[in-house]
């Protein structure tokens, strides 16, 4: 098991390193200039470039950047916030996005699992049909349609919830953003759980367990859930990443000061901020790879077969 985990971690680290390198090189070799060229003389630009270390060979620049990253620093912005250090701004934004994201993942997974299980246990009955229709709608209709409607009806028409996100009233004002963000998670997880459950419930080993006299909760816990939930773990990983995209829209709609908004500011604002794009790219990629790694390991823990096959392959 240790070997399996170590191998995964090593692989993830290498991937992340390659990605950081590619992002760095792409951003550095890009045509264009991080400074307002019209307003600067040629000497000023040269001086500024030397000041920022942009005149060194690219590999040296990369080494410098990595050294800075490893000391937990992202450098300064080039145009956003007047070139203030990136780290405190990024951390503040991450905190907001992270809280809402975690809330919506937990809520979405819990409700999704519950809905899926209920649907599977009532297979072919009314509840099952209702869950199926709801989950199809949830998967197909983009989450931002829900967001806009939720906001319009429950914050504007009936002013119960706050219209915008407010960090000082975190829990109350993040209900709507988290809820609308989790609808996709709920429906995907519910749909997947239901199908897996139905398959497991019809399998021979569950019938055997039943014929041995096992029933009710014990049967569910020991035989059904454990096997039905393994594949569900796999769908959660891509969902976490989809959440990033969803969060970008969500943050615009609910006015959250989060990483999605920061990204939009960095690429769609007045001038493109190269260093923010790089920093955010690194944060997003590590988040993605981290989640994948976590789920890989989790998967190995839940399902001994995967662990064993990895051992054979190693």
């Amino acid at each position: 098991m240790t070997k399996y985990i170590a191998k995964r971690i090593l692989l993830a680290a290498v991937t992340l390193f390659v990605i950081i390198f590619v992002l760095f090189v792409l951003i550095r070799i890009m045509p264009g200039n991080p400074f307002p060229v019209e307003r600067m003389s040629a000497e000023m630009i040269l001086q500024k470039r030397a000041e920022l270390g942009l005149d060194k060979p690219i590999l040296v620049q990369f080494a410098d950047y990595m050294r800075m990253l490893l000391s937990g620093n992202f450098g300064n912005g080039t145009s956003l916030y007047n070139g203030a250090p990136i780290k405190p701004i990024l951390l503040a934004c991450l905190e907001n996005s992270f809280k809402i994201g975690v809330l919506s993942i937990f809520f979405g997974t819990a409700v999704g699992l519950l809905t899926g299980i209920v649907a599977a246990l009532n297979r072919g009955k009314f509840l099952d049909g209702l869950c199926t229709v709801l989950s199809i709608l949830g998967v197909c209709i983009p989450s931002y349609v829900f967001m806009i409607f939720l906001q319009y009806f429950f914050a504007y028409k009936i002013p119960f919830f706050p219209y915008f996100f407010d960090p000082s009233r975190f829990l109350f004002s993040s209900i709507m953003p988290a809820l609308s963000l989790s609808l996709f998670t709920i429906s995907t997880v519910a749909r997947f759980t239901r199908n897996e459950m139905v398959e497991v419930l019809n399998s021979d080993y569950v019938k055997l367990a039943e014929s041995k006299g096992l029933q009710g909760f014990e049967l569910m816990r020991r035989h059904v859930l454990r096997n039905a939930l393994i594949p569900v773990v796999t769908v959660i990983a891509p969902l976490v990443v989809d959440l990033l995209t969803g969060a970008m829209v969500m943050e615009k709609i609910y006015g959250v000061n989060g990483v999605g908004k920061l990204m939009v500011d960095a690429i769609a604002g007045e001038g493109v901020d190269y260093n923010y794009v790089l920093a955010l790219g690194i944060v997003f990629s590590s988040l993605y790879i981290g989640v994948m790694l976590l789920l890989d390991i989790l998967y190995g823990i839940i399902d001994p077969r995967i662990r064993l096959s990895a051992k054979e392959a190693a």
Binding site: T15, M30, Y144, I148, L244, V249, I267, F284
Partner: protein, 328 residues
């Protein structure tokens, strides 16, 4: 001594129709015919087809037959005989409205610059659909070729190609888009480029998996024995058999493409004015949602219907291609 029998005329005859017994109940259906029948019986899938066709028909014909151009700022004559821009009018039909603009029809109303939303909505749907179809088609070609080549040659080629995909696939789409946004100007090109770069990976994975299954089959071996080259086998022998799963993937990719476009335009790096797409219309409507809520309804409905429709079609395809025993 045994006599050697010499065949005479009439000993042999060609097999004709009458000699071949075909089980008409089962064998008469071709594979694709079976798929089509299965698909047509699926109520959800047919609903999807109807929804998508309606939108496509409107997207093709509505801008053509509309009395306004999509970027035209419509003027009306008011009671005093002055030309007035028809700004922010709620939906109305000719003869039903009041006052000076009573003779004009604005089925979805007008936007805050005085452009007809009916025309803009369908023009937007047209732009979104064109982007989705074109990019997904190119992605399909790139993805399947990549996957087939990787799967067929195996070994070192496969290893290199798959490591590349692994790394490319671990960069979140959002990061790729942000890098592109530095390289390129905002607008339709950025949307297309980001879709081209991200969407082919899924298709190549499916094509590779199918190829790995198919290349062990006897017919491929037979073809090789007869002297067929690798590329002939890949594109003439294996490709036709991977069409099914690839098309299913395409059907699921189209809504993703439509959504990505809408998402990019919504956050402000997509379609730029006066061009419009479903996403940019939603963005415009969202800015006015509290005062003029009717503006956001048409584009958001079109988006939802398109996503729903294509997903239903995709589901239908998947089931029709691999029918489970219980459904037969």
């Amino acid at each position: 001594m045994e006599k050697v029998y010499t065949p005479r005329e009439g000993d042999f005859e060609f097999i004709t129709e009458r000699d071949i017994n075909v089980d008409k109940n089962f064998a008469s259906q071709g594979y694709w015919k079976g798929v089509a029948i299965h698909f047509a019986r699926n109520k959800f899938a047919m609903t999807g087809v109807v929804l998508v066709s309606v939108i496509i028909l409107f997207a093709i014909f509505a801008p053509v037959f509309s009395s306004y151009a999509y970027d035209e700022i419509v003027s009306v004559t008011d009671a005093a005989g002055r030309e007035v821009v028809a700004k922010s009018l709620s939906p109305q039909f000719a003869g039903e409205g009041e006052g000076y603009f009573a003779d004009k029809t604005f089925i979805f109303g007008t936007d805050d610059l005085g452009r007809d939303l009916w025309t803009r909505t369908w023009q937007g749907a047209r732009v979104s659909l064109i982007i989705a179809f074109v990019t997904i088609f190119i992605d399909m070609i790139i993805g399947t070729s990549y996957g087939l080549i990787s799967g067929f040659f195996g070994g070192r080629v496969d290893n290199v190609l798959q490591r590349f995909i692994e790394i490319a696939g671990s960069i979140p789409t959002l990061v790729i888009i942000s890098i592109l946004a530095i390289f390129m100007d905002k607008g339709i090109g950025l949307v297309i480029a980001s879709l081209l770069i991200t969407e082919w990976i899924g298709m190549s994975k499916i094509a590779r998996a199918e190829c790995l299954k198919l290349k062990e089959r006897e017919y491929v071996l037979a073809s090789r024995t007869l002297g067929a080259g690798s590329f002939h086998i890949i594109f003439k022998q294996i490709l036709p058999n991977t069409i099914g799963p690839v098309i299913t993937q395409v059907m699921f990719s189209i809504p993703v493409a439509i959504f990505t476009e809408a998402f990019l335009s919504f956050v402000g790096v997509g379609i730029v004015l006066p061009q419009c797409s479903v996403g940019s219309l939603i963005e415009a409507g969202f800015n006015n949602i509290t005062i003029l809520p009717y503006q956001i309804l048409p584009p958001i409905t079109v988006l939802a219907i398109l996503m729903l429709g294509f997903n239903l079609i995709g589901d239908g395809f998947r089931e029709a291609l691999a029918p489970k025993l219980e459904d037969m």
